[in-house]
Amino acid sequence: MHNLTLAEQKAQLEAKAFSSVELTQHYLERIERLDTDINSYITVTAAQALAQAEEADKARARGEGGVLNGIPIAHKDIFCTDGVKTTCGSRMLENFVPPYNAHVVDNYLRAGAVMLGKTNMDEFAMGSSNETSYYGRVHNPWAPNCVPGGSSGGSAAAVAARLAPAATATDTGGSIRQPASLCGVTGIKPTYGRVSRWGMIAFASSLDQGGVITLTAEDAALMMNVMAGFDHRDSTCIDHPVPDYSAGLNDSLEGLTVGIPEEYFGEGLNPETEKAVQAAIKEIEALGARTKAISLPHSSLAVPAYYVIAPAECSANLSRFDGVRYGYRCENPQDLEDLYKRSRGEGFGEEVKRRILVGTYALSAGYYDAYYRKAQQVRRLIKQDFDNAFNEVDIIAGPTATSPAFEFGAKGDDPVAMYLEDIYTIATNLAGLPGMSIPCGSVDNKPVGLQLIGKAFDEARLLNVAHRFQQVTDFHRQAPAEID
């Protein structure tokens, strides 16, 4: 059952080939057997999942049920779940049990999906290897001595290891696409404002966006149909019609123009990764699209701009964790200042503290213009690069990551080496555009991802291109050999 895609499981449930309880039990058994080695889940909600599955089966027997009725999925542990611990990968929220559901979680509940549990992640979504999680590192199912990518490393590893057919995720600078690439699965980061951030623990509010990780583009479309949409409780959510993302999956690619940015194929790109990405682009050409060389001249400034804007927003967002209202509180505080400082100092990990400090510095008196204002100006230049490119092309294609999954500890103690891991994904967040990663080959038996970037609200086009590609390739069907 676990090698079926979500779409296939949906059809089989509808045909009553198996029940939701059977499917859910199957995944729970796999999680129990395999996840001690992978560590993709922080919390498994077995009893609740089986109860939801039973309800889904009853609904089906009555001829009722939502579009994902009885399908088990996992949620990244950044989405608040009513009555279920939500840690955001941090010691700070080790005992945090939210009194409400995130908008996205409610949407999936209403659609009849079953929640298997909450997936591991870099602490507060800050990282590209899942090594900053307080709950231990996640092992890449393709190469257990390697990272799964991050920050949605748990979601990507869970889907790759067939411990869930789909998982929610979030992407602030590449946190859906880069782990999807490193784990050989499909991931989509929608347009900024497409998905409500309500109940999604904030890191950098002008960049954060919820999305999904699945085996196929067809599955991603089914998940997006439930996830996307306006929510008045998120002031940056955009009231824009939601198309049926499944409707155009099979559209022809004849006449489509794919932009190939020269800056994404320069120094630093692993030659074997490049080969796989170039072959994938040829495959898309064979489907009827034509390619055009383009330039995104400010690409090299995306990482520097991001590491001002994201830490600045993080330092403001994370000021809410004060040891008073919820979350970690230090032992025996001497006074209020000691309570704040030690609760935060002991509750946050090293990378989170580093970003709070960088952000506080960038926003402090005398430095604002040199850092934050300058970064926001560069952000506009990066957005203009994309605007110019999209006057000539329909989508942009290139690598998702510079190389396949790296070994634990490979980026050492240098934060900048890790930051450069997101060199091809960060600009998309700064410009608010949708992006996708789909498996397109492998290097030393480790997956490689092809990145597709679209115009604002053009997710359907990305899914269409990805689906057509997956109709003529089988990279997305390959499963890690050691996981059975």
Binding site: F96, V97, P98, P99, T191, Y192, G193, H232, S235, S300, L301, V303, P304, A305, Y307, V308, S315, D322, V324, R325, Y326, G327, R329, P333, D335, L336, E337, D338, Y340, K341, R344, G345, F348, K353, R354, I356, L357, V358, T360, Y361, S364, Y371, K374, A375, Q376, Q377, V378, R379, R380, L381, K383, D414, P415, V416, Y419, L430, A431, G432, L433, A456
Partner: protein
């Protein structure tokens, strides 16, 4: 960045940084600041800063009460409360 600078910023952020790691922290933050200094090479004369990628403006809603009182639910997850109040160390003698 030296350890004293780090302690000054850490105070602004109300973040405890132990003295034994302050030098290490100063070093790594210097590396990050060296990275972001590449921004200075960009010509941004006359470029308006961009706060929202789609240049959306803040939506306003009607000034109506939409949330009920959920004090018990919220305080159930607090580290320390008493009689409906959050407990903190004494602030005023």
């Amino acid at each position: 960045m030296n350890p004293q600078d780090i302690q000054k910023i850490a105070h602004l952020a109300r973040l405890q940084i132990n003295d034994d790691v302050a030098a290490e922290t100063a070093k790594s933050i210097t590396e990050v600041l060296n990275l972001v200094d590449q921004l200075q090479s960009a010509d941004t004369d006359g470029v308006a800063p961009m706060a929202h990628p789609l240049d959306a403006v803040q939506r306003l809603r009607a000034d109506e009460v939409t949330e009920g009182n959920q004090r018990d639910a919220f305080q159930a997850i607090a580290p320390a409360t008493e009689n409906g109040l959050y407990l903190v160390p004494k602030v005023i003698d």
